[in-house]
Amino acid sequence: MICINKPKFAWEIGLARMSEEEEQRRAPKTRKGKKYLESTAPQWEEPPKGLLVIHGHQTSQVVKNVLGDVARLKKPYCRQLRKKNNILPFEAGGEASLEFLCRKNDCSLFILGNHTKKRPNNVILGRLFDFHLLDMFELGIVEHKGFEEFEMAKQLQSPMKPLVCFIGDFESDETCRKLKNLFLDFFHDFEDHQVSLDQLENVIVVTLSHDRTISFQNFIVQLRKSDNYLPKVALEEAGPRIRFSIRRTRLATEDLWKQATKRPKQRTKKEKNITVQPLLGRKVGRIHVGKQKLDKLVIKKQRALKRSKGRV
């Protein structure tokens, strides 16, 4: 009477997702497990998102180089998977294993590179919310120049807080707007709301060209003195330089996006181990100093204790 294709696998009707949540809900048995769950639990003020670098079933040398370069730019917050993973996130149900890997590595951003006859030199950039796929963009690599082709790349230190610059009309359509948002998400952390002016080191520039290709560049910022207190800015390219063409995209559904962009109420953070003296009105902090190794202490040798040459 009714002939309908029954789902073959549990994940097709979302059963796998449920069991994963159940797994998370299970109380930890060891202290180590408890610590791990605490470290991955949601926080009010989030640390920068981690990036998971995945190599697809087949990768070309260009794709490998691009993945390596992007990983280097995102370095302290990056995890690279060394084995191949046959993941096709644009196919139906293909995102399940991707979500699983990201959950296990506690990363909310991913970059997946693969190379096929139909889509050569392919890179998929995307992000997750609560380890459910939010949006992803498939980009084809048109041109790539690695770090080693730029002289200035040697001067590049750990790019902890890069500036981000967008050139071109990104606001005209939804795909470009979301892509811009994704690039900002990749390279910026909103954790501590302060910056040191002598740490403005590099700037990441994303340009949308007239033919809808996206070029990705990295410059070193050099501040030069001028006649007033505002410095002159000079830029030196430090690589990598990658040009992408936009292929398939999947944008976030409206309700998921709404949930993901909800802001928490402003909370006043309690300062730890700091008391205010009521009479003097000043702050007093208490810090913990570890055990000192007195036997390895380097002390200046005292002259007075030394036997001089002349006296016996």
Partner: protein, 241 residues
């Protein structure tokens, strides 16, 4: 400056003018340089925060909204005692752990093992008239302690239960499309049989099926009736002309 938007909170700037085909690389580099310079000048004009570290600047809140990685954590629900204390305005205050024991001439803990008023420590007790004949006052003390511990454990478990309830409701992600998908399959599964409904009781199936859209069985119309109906429709149209 024309066309440059700066968001100091997210350390980003954007030159929103579209890139034209005739623009050379030098033109583009100049545009990048100008946009970055604008951002850097914006950062330099922020007020100083700390007199010790002059280069440190507090950033304003970012105007660009970037999605979170994980949902906002839920507040832990209050335990029963915390609720009660809140309603009564009871505040926690710090108390000493040890106190001076006059009789023994030393510091002793206020509660617990070797505490100052440990009832179990007494060798002789005053007579309590409420005691049943043959009942030991020492046993009664022990029993009381056991009951208090048991009671406390019960309360702890109850608090744990209510707490975990709050957490569970926070977890599932609202995904309407997915839940609709699930609903559909649940309905189909409820009425599916291995013989595709051939040997099942049809009446029962029908009542369950009523809410399922789009998979109702089509009526089979005999050939003659269909022909008649078409002719009638054609005649109706022609009549109006």
């Amino acid at each position: 400056m024309d066309g440059v938007e700066v968001d100091l909170g997210s350390l980003s700037c954007a030159d929103v003018r579209p890139v034209l085909q005739e623009e050379t690389e030098e033109d583009l580099n100049e545009r990048i340089r100008r946009a970055v310079e604008f951002l850097v000048h914006g950062l330099f004009t922020l007020p100083e925060q700390n007199s010790e570290r002059k280069s440190l600047r507090e950033l304003p809140t970012a105007t660009t909204v970037v999605p979170r990685a994980k949902p906002i954590p839920k507040e832990k629900p209050l335990t029963k005692w915390q609720k009660f204390a809140k309603s009564r305005g009871i505040k926690k205050r710090k108390r000493d752990k040890f106190t001076w024991d006059e009789a023994r001439g030393e510091f002793r803990p206020i509660h617990g093992y070797r505490s100052i008023n440990d009832e179990r420590d007494q060798a002789v007790m005053p007579h309590d008239p409420s005691l049943a004949p043959g009942e030991s006052p020492f046993d009664r003390l022990k029993e009381g302690k056991r009951k208090r511990i048991e009671n406390n454990r019960k309360n702890q478990e109850r608090n744990k239960r209510t707490l975990s309830k709050g957490q569970i409701s926070a977890l599932p992600l609202k995904n309407e499309a997915r839940s609709k998908y699930l609903d559909k399959y649940a309905k189909v599964a409820a009425i599916s049989t291995s013989s595709l409904g051939k040997h099942g009781e049809k009446n029962e199936v029908k009542s369950k099926n009523s809410s399922v859209k789009g998979i109702r069985k089509k009526k089979i119309i005999p050939v003659g009736a269909e022909r008649e109906r078409t002719f009638r429709a054609v005649n109706d149209v022609l009549k109006n002309i």
